[in-house]
Amino acid sequence: MINWIAGVGRSTLSQLSDLGRATLILMQAVFGSSNVGVHWRLTIDQIHVVGVLSLSIIIVSGLFIGMVLGLQGYTILTDYGSEQALGQMVALSLTRELGPVVTALLFAGRAGSALTAEIGLMKATEQLASLEMIGVDPLRRVVAPRFWAGVISLPILSLIFVSVGCLGGALVGVSWLGVDSGSFWANMQASVGFSDDVFNGMIKSVVFAVVVTWIAVYQGYDLVPTSEGIARATTKTVVYSSLAVLGLDFFLTAVMFGEV
């Protein structure tokens, strides 16, 4: 019993110290002000790597999820004779929930794991140490651009996901199943509010972006520099990010839409 309590205490302490280290790394990376011009260029490069190169998976997934929503929504709504509301259903599900959450999960798998592996490999091959000895802070040179790139890319990817998803819903609902095009789009336009739905969805997306990218760069920077350590850290990035996104989503939804 005593051992069990001691074990719980030990793991709590080690997790707290992990969190503290992660916070310190983030603070030093984000609030270190040095040569903004160079860092802006590095950030643009990273936006290409983590953002632009994730476009294909985001667009394809968005299209299919929109199409599935159209199909499922149609079969349910026709039971009540209200298939005109399909546009509203598709758009609200996407902007409020599926857009931010699924994009963040895909981003964690596609870009987050790659960030962890890349930074981890740089650590394992002493590239981070050699940056330090050249007098360049790897937190600012390596971690900060990747962090900012993630924070900027994910919300934009999420917007693209939602837009493509709506088109997918229209493709199935309007073109295939024959819902009236005018009522599909008019209903969508009337029911989706900018501040309530789009803006709240964006807030979620920004929060997920910070959390997922933070987890990814921290896991990469803090890993044990061996092949096994890199494998474990990459897995951790995906698992922790996914859990964090889903948990935070419930919390944010409760705050944003709970009183309705």
């Binding site: 740089m122 091959t125 002493e126 140490a129 050699s130 330090e132 000895m133 050249i134 360049v136």
Partner: protein
């Protein structure tokens, strides 16, 4: 001022997890000389370089570089100090996504305002010194381990530092490369007035160019002085190391319980 030691290490205690690496290590590295750090493997010679570079923090004790206490410096001051040191890593640690040229140009681009033409001249000069001007457009992955380390040396001297720390520079070099590197270390030291710290297992070769030797064994400095004094030292520990005897004060075996206990 110039006669004092460039690096002063006092009573440093350092542990990795529970294992004691240094227990009160005191040593000094004279200015503008070549200092060899030798000792059995696993005694933390690389660790010493990392302590001097401020990448590791000792449990207690001081490390001063050119009068500055490394571990009480602020982060930005520490990075400024590191610009005055070059370090050659065991693996070379070149940036994998940059070409040989860009690797050597990197410190110049980050820390100076030189224009591209001037950077090109400096990079080619540094590569010429290590005999790899022809490899300027290759990627690090296209080079052998020994060549990578020579490129890393060119990068380490790109900013003309005041001190260079070489971590096992001679590993993986053929006899010709070894000879060239030895004379290069010597030349750099004399021509630029550098302070050089060489960690190496190639004891005899290193001693031919060293002005000063620090031997680390059993968690402390076992010998400190000139190579000549080392050769004639009566200390059994030094003699064991110089002649490669398996028995003596230096333990070849990693600490372990007795064989009978482990087996039964």
């Amino acid at each position: 001022m110039t006669t004092e030691a460039f690096v002063e290490i006092r009573d440093v205690v350092f542990r990795r997890d529970q294992r004691v690496i240094y227990d009160g290590l005191t040593a000094s590295v004279p200015r503008e000389k070549i200092t060899a750090i030798v000792g059995p493997s696993g005694t933390g010679k690389t660790t010493l370089l990392r302590l001097i570079g401020g990448q590791l923090k000792p449990e207690s004790g001081h490390v001063c570089v050119d009068g500055l206490s490394v571990h009480s410096l602020k982060r930005s001051a520490l990075f400024d100090l590191r610009k005055r040191m070059g370090m050659l890593f065991q693996s070379g640690a070149l940036f994998a996504e940059l070409s040989v040229f860009e690797n050597v140009a990197f410190p110049l681009r980050v820390h100076t305002d030189l224009d591209d033409d001037l950077i090109r001249i400096v990079v080619l000069m540094k590569l010429e010194a290590v005999g790899l001007r022809g490899a300027v457009d290759l990627m690090p992955s296209e080079l052998s381990g020994g060549m990578q380390r020579r490129v890393a040396l060119a990068r380490a001297i790109a900013l003309d530092p005041e001190m260079i720390m070489y971590d096992e520079p001679f590993v993986g070099q053929d006899p010709i490369g070894l000879g060239v590197l030895l004379s290069l270390v010597k030349q750099l030291n004399q021509a630029l007035g550098l302070t050089s710290l060489v960690v190496s297992h190639d004891l005899q070769e290193t001693l031919t160019i060293a002005d000063h030797v620090i031997m680390i064994a059993n968690n402390r400095v076992a010998f400190q002085g000139s190579p000549d004094v080392m050769q004639t030292s009566a200390d059994p520990l030094v003699q064991q190391f110089l002649h490669g005897n398996p028995d003596g004060p230096v333990r070849f075996h990693f600490p372990a319980p007795s064989l009978e206990n482990s087996v039964s």
